[in-house]
């Protein structure tokens, strides 16, 4: 039995519903040593800002139960460098390219959007990074500023716009509705959850930044619940992420209402995780005699 894995995300055809979580996959070069990254539905690269960013001091990672905290702080080489040296390699791939954009102000978001123009397939607006002092998550935790950032970037954007949501809010579906009103063509969720890990011998946080973003299997039930809530509220497609390590995990997100999923932290433990997730989604569909992945999206039956 042949199954269809193709999904349509805001008018862009992905060959399968699996992409990479921004910031966990660099610009693809490193994982390309392990598998053919053209097999992915899309490659979502690390956050790009107008100017290069050095990020936060180290340690920037702390292990936690079934997950990890990071406080990278959006280290990136800046848009100009990205366009000149990284994008040409990405363009050679037979997959869709999603660029995640970061900024401290709405003007900076707009500037980086204009610099990227239509050179990629989709943009993902990051209003949810917990690791920077200004901008970042500040836009993502308030309906009004999420709406404003989205509509400003949407006006400047020449490609479909995904808005990446923060789980560090009381009602994520309200933020999702606000960005949908602002013109977002899709939403992605969740970014990391703000957390802290303490070294009890030094009586200090492990991260130099004291706090960081929690990711990995530990966050998955929260992410699935949030995808479900957002799916009840908005019509635009949802890209679900947070702890996905297997096809079974991905299927949970699809059933909850995501049209696609992203794999992040799991790839740090198993560099083949992304490919495994794609293969296991296909196997699940075959096992259940479902010939099209689109037929399970949002097909959750509540008790």
């Amino acid at each position: 039995m042949s199954v269809n894995l193709k999904v349509n995300i805001a008018g862009v055809a992905w060959k399968n519903p699996v992409t990479t979580a921004s910031g966990t996959f660099g610009f693809g070069k490193e994982y390309a040593e392990y598998f053919d990254i053209s097999r992915l539905g899309a490659v979502t690269v690390k956050s790009i800002s107008v100017e290069k960013k050095l990020g936060n001091p180290t340690p920037r990672v702390a292990e936690t139960a079934s997950g990890m905290l990071n406080s990278v702080g959006l280290q990136n080489p800046g848009a100009e460098f990205f366009l000149k040296y990284e994008l040409p390699n990405l363009k050679k791939l037979d997959t869709k390219i999603v660029v995640n954009i970061a900024g401290n102000t709405i003007d900076e978001y707009v500037a980086v959007t204009e610099m990227i123009g239509d050179s990629v397939d989709m943009l993902e607006l990051n209003i949810s990074c917990p690791n920077v002092k200004v901008g970042g998550m500040a836009f993502g935790v308030d309906e009004k500023s999420a709406f404003e950032a989205t509509s400003a970037v949407k006006k400047a954007s020449k490609v479909p716009l995904i808005v990446k949501l923060s789980p560090n809010v009381t009602d994520i579906s309200a933020i999702a509705a606000a960005v949908e009103n602002g013109g977002a063509n899709a939403v992605s969720l969740i970014n990391t959850l703000l957390g802290m890990k303490i070294d009890i011998n030094k009586r200090k946080p492990i991260l130099a930044n004291n706090v960081g973003g929690l990711s990995g299997p530990a966050v998955m039930p929260i992410a699935v619940r949030m995808v479900y809530q957002v799916a009840q509220k908005v019509k635009i497609p949802i890209i679900g992420m947070g702890g996905i390590s297997s096809g079974a995990d991905a299927i949970e997100f699809l059933l909850a209402g995501a049209s696609a999923v992203a794999v992040g932290t799991a790839g740090f433990v198993d560099p083949y995780a992304h490919i495994r997730v794609i293969n296991e989604i296909e196997e699940y569909l075959k096992r259940n005699n479902i010939d099209d992945v689109n037929n399970i999206i949002g097909k959750l039956e509540m008790n």
């Binding site: 910031g23 966990t24 996959f25 660099g26 070069k29 490193e30 994982y31 040593e33 392990y34 690390k46 050095l54 990020g55 001091p57 180290t58 340690p59 920037r60 990672v61 702390a62 292990e63 936690t64 139960a65 079934s66 997950g67 990890m68 990071n70 990278v72 280290q75 492990i206 990995g216 299997p217 932290t265 790839g267 740090f268 433990v269 560099p271």
Partner: protein, 254 residues
Amino acid sequence: MGLCKLIQKQEIASNIFDFVVETHTGLQANAGQFLHVKCGGTAYLRRPISICDAWDDKLRFIFEVRGEGTRLLSQFRVGETIDILGPLGRGFDLDLAQGDGDIILVGGGIGTFPLLLLARELELRVKKPIAILGYRTKELITLTDEFEAVCEEVKITTDDGSHGTHGFVTDVLADMAKNGKISAIYTCGPTGMMKAVAKIAIEHNIPAQVSMEERMACGIGACVTCTCSVAGYNARVCKDGPVFNAEMVDWGGF
């Protein structure tokens, strides 16, 4: 690399374990590279551990139990398989030496282990190095015979004077730099020690390489958590390093 069988295991000093695994691959390991090891159980992330020795399809690594991950790793039994990724990272450059002076290895504590493979490779391809190995105390001294077999000379220091020279490896190195002819220095150990070694190397214009350590997640260069400031940029210890030229590292931050 995948699943490797543990074929030899020994606790060579208190809480310091010496593992040999069979890889079944033809992958070449260079001195200074590391393995990213899944410790099992509740340890979610892999742990980076330096390669201490390599021959045929065997890899040897030695680690100290310092936390939950390494504690779990120390519980593997001979015959069991360990999930290992690697060899990873950029190792030592064997062609660092300029001129015909001595090649010096400076190791501190668990930082001495990766220098063994380096000493072997230097002996084989360049010339026998001189090793200066520092330990906190006598009980922690390991691998001396193996270093002696491939080194011109092995000088040992202990912080408490319980064996060898009482004092620091950097005192011995500073003396040699003043009085002898050194053509290259390679070092691995605590950051403070490496910083002091780098200072001596730079003062005397001696090419030197350091092996940096940082907490890691992916180990393959994708997550940018493991950085250290090198020539004004946050380089990835796992991919751009762990070995860097000493004069390139921005030591001010340490």
